[in-house]
Symmetry: C2
Subunit: 335 residues, 2 copies
């Protein structure tokens, strides 16, 4: 049974999920295989059409006119957190506190296609995925025990993917992660002092500087932040303030899908299909009505390895200036 334990030296809750040791890793098999064997992989892929019985019961899906699913949501078979667990704190001793691994862990299968990466999906399909992510986000928030909803995607082995068939994951946590509290506090302090949203001011300063912008349309801007922690780290931010991904209005899914495709394609081409993580950073429960934190997407290519300095200090060493990386990405696709 998963549980959370509190680290009194940092203020973090750590998830303990021994079950996740058992999860299959088809990635290695998959990558080593040549095309004649391809069918056998798809036969064993729990995310491929026809193998629906291999997954736990479907939570939600978007279907086409022939009733075939286009996007499918299922519980993670090896969950980090589970809806049945208790969220009450237990004091084992003065310093050792724990609680049940209460939460939710879902998988959003991005398309029926086993091999297509997100960048190569049609805009319509990316839009469907985003709409489903918001639908699940809003539904999970209805459970009052869940404080934060973490939406993310892992692409490639260095990014921690265990199954190749392209998918997203959603984890609902029964606590607000300390790092999110901290990011929120920075934004709140800035708002209290200036009356402005930190992220929107940052976006405006990036727009004024221009040199770290990689893509933009009427509603979104993609840029490599001035103080990026990782080489080619790319953010996508709405140009009008919204605190939460749950507040993204229906008409903005299309432009968001468009800019995501543009940015992911630039990264795919420029860095030759890099491993990456993608997270949607959004306000936690109760903060959606405030004006300090603007939701955004962070795309984090996994080109380097965090080593002893990063783990010992919490600081990052970035070997690529974001303005150089942005120039490279812009040049790669002639924009």
């Amino acid at each position: 049974m998963p549980e959370l334990r509190f680290d009194p030296t940092t203020g973090d809750w750590v998830v303990f999920a021994p079950l996740r040791q058992l999860r299959p890793r088809t990635l290695e098999k998959d990558q080593g295989q040549s095309s004649p064997h391809h069918l056998s992989v798809e036969q064993h892929c729990p995310f491929c059409p026809g193998n629906e019985a291999m997954t736990p019961r479907e939570i939600d899906a978007i279907r086409n006119s022939s009733n075939a699913w286009q996007v499918r949501v299922i519980p993670n078979k090896f969950p980090a957190l589970q809806i049945e667990e208790d969220d009450r704190r237990v004091e084992v001793s003065e310093l050792f506190h724990k609680m049940g691994g209460c939460g939710a862990h879902e998988v959003v299968v991005e398309s029926p296609d086993h091999t297509t990466v997100l960048a190569a999906q049609p805009i319509d399909q990316i839009e469907r995925v985003l709409r489903m992510l918001q639908r699940r986000y809003l539904d999970l928030l209805r459970d009052r025990r869940f404080q934060s909803i973490i939406l993310f995607k892992n692409h490639g082995e260095r990014a921690g993917t265990s199954l190749r068939h392209s998918h997203w994951q959603i984890i609902a946590t029964p606590v607000v992660p300390r790092m999110l509290r901290l990011r929120y506090a920075e934004a709140a302090q800035f708002f209290d002092r200036t009356g402005n949203c930190l992220h929107q001011v940052m976006l405006n300063e990036e727009l004024a500087a221009q040199k770290r912008i990689v893509s933009c349309n009427r509603n979104f801007v993609a840029f490599l932040p001035f103080a990026s922690h990782l080489p080619f780290e790319t953010w996508i931010m709405p140009s009008q303030f919204q605190s939460s991904f749950g507040q993204l209005p229906g008409e903005l899914f299309r432009p968001l899908a468009e800019i995501m495709k543009s940015v992911l394609t630039k990264l795919f081409v420029g860095l030759e299909n890099p491993d990456f993580n993608l997270t949607i950073d959004t306000a936690s429960r109760g903060d959606e009505e405030q004006s300090s934190f603007c939701w955004h997407i962070r795309i984090l290519p996994r080109l380097s390895t965090a080593a002893g300095f990063e783990l010992g200090s919490g600081m990052s060493i970035n070997t690529v200036l974001p303005e150089d990386a942005a120039k490279f990405l812009r040049a790669g696709t002639d924009e």
Copy 2:
């Protein structure tokens, strides 16, 4: 030229060191080679005796009676931070602040031997390395611009090693890293409330529970913390309070070397030479005289990959309970 940039969304300073892109990676070459070729690797290893001319000028060394070096300290040839840089802040705009990459980046070559891992070194040699680390720590603190001294070791490719010949690194930073401020603040709050050192109370609770202890002697305890962030994460802590590694008295280097050898051997045997990072967490400048934070060593095996959930939330998912891991390590070496 390295520089630091401030991330207003988190409060972190990020190190930008484009030069480090150029550093050689002999690890791959090395691991792929069979013994007949071994000599050629040593001929090209800048840390091997006879190749001293390949490194920048020696900073310090411990020599034997024949004047051959046993431990050797040199500047990192591809430094993250440099002593010549300016530590003044520059405001590029309201939110974008930067400063020169002022600091120091040194390499401590652990022994003349190209292939021996730290666990396999004689206790005497481990003791020499630890004495040298403290000597460099104290010397670097004499430069009043340096706020924190990060001492660490990377072992293996997944831990970010680029050169196989076993070594430590020391980075002096011109700012206190936010994560260290935060850990310090947790300890200070606990001290203010209880009058006790958080880490010593934690150690006592671990000693009372017993089940996560892997090794101990009269002066040090090695344990896997109740809320370990990583599988097999192991801490070594002095049983008498000292705030800073710089305060470790001369007679404790021997027992520290002994427990380090014991713990590293258990990990080496039990996990078959795992990749790991090791950091010495110690009080920053000005905090050495306080009684809240006790220095300690963290050994962080790199058995898992941080993925989107970890990057998006800052929370860790640990698939191995520390009591199970401790039992496994104890069993492996019959103690």
